[in-house]
Symmetry: C2
DNA sequence: AAGATGTAATTCACATGTTAATTACAAGGT
DNA sequence: ACCTTGTAATTAACATGTGAATTACATCTT
């Protein structure tokens, strides 16, 4: 097997694919002055309820040092709250605040419209298949080592 | 259409997929003290020959400000060279040096082995199909707007 | 030639990615 | 109680991502 060219390597293809998709969301996020990562944190907390930092980092695919900074910024802006866990001074439960929920709800319509536009261009079935294949790849690489 | 959960959103899936793949390459790059982005720059220059900064940035999927810093670092380490373009003082041709070529050749076997291992776990046909679908997605999103 | 406009590259400022080291606790063993 | 070991979170240091502003040239216009 030859070393793949940069025009057909999986890491590059995944990177470019993510870029073209995120390009559609960035203007929306910029208008509300939140970053892509802050947006992920908000959505994870909204979906799952309060989480400890480690679990939140895993679910949002953000490394612990980054999460520390993000939490700090979002707490100051009033989008999330933290509450120490009883009997363990290390941990804290992170939760989305009403303001955070309001932001998610405010962006929901535009978010749906963007996804619909992507599905229209790329194809809804293709979209589902791609998600399946990506999940399968993640599974095969993360478990089998 | 409901807003997709973070467990099945295209941006998150692409991000996670890239993470699990890059996890296999990072140790190799770390041993040679080069970053993922520097590695991309080297490979693009090796494949295509000398390029101007803008074209290199596009092909390596690196933003201009990042490329400026990367070029500076790699020039100092002797992996790439720059030559001003005649009749246009703004542009410069960036080229890989013999030391850069040597690094690529040194890493080639391990690189092939890593790709083979991924194909073995995920399936060669699945791999090809995934690349096709990603290219199709990139195409549909970058042209159609 | 001078000014307006466009383009390539860089610089700035700040957020995140990344690894290693450190701090703060918790739990277990002696 | 003390010490070791393990774990959660943070901090440190440096590289890159990102958008806005700036600089350095080119080119076009008059």
């Amino acid at each position: 097997m030859l070393p793949p060219s940069t025009r057909r390597s999986l890491p590059m293809a995944l990177l470019r694919a993510r870029e073209v998709i995120m390009a559609h969301f960035r203007p929306m996020l910029a208008r509300h002055d939140i970053t892509e990562q802050q947006w992920r944190v908000l959505r994870v907390l909204a979906e799952t309820g309060p989480l400890e930092a480690t679990e939140l980092a895993n679910r949002a695919s953000i490394l612990p040092p980054s999460l520390t900074r993000i939490i700090k910024a979002m707490e100051e802006r009033g989008f999330i709250t933290r509450n120490r866990v009883k009997d363990d001074g290390r941990r804290a439960l992170l939760a989305i605040s009403p303001a955070g929920v309001a932001l998610i709800e405010e962006l929901a319509p535009e978010r749906v419209a963007i996804y619909e536009a992507i599905e229209k261009r790329y194809g809804a079935e293709e979209h589902e298949r791609l998600l399946d294949m990506l999940e399968s790849l993640i599974q095969s690489e993360s478990t089998g080592g």
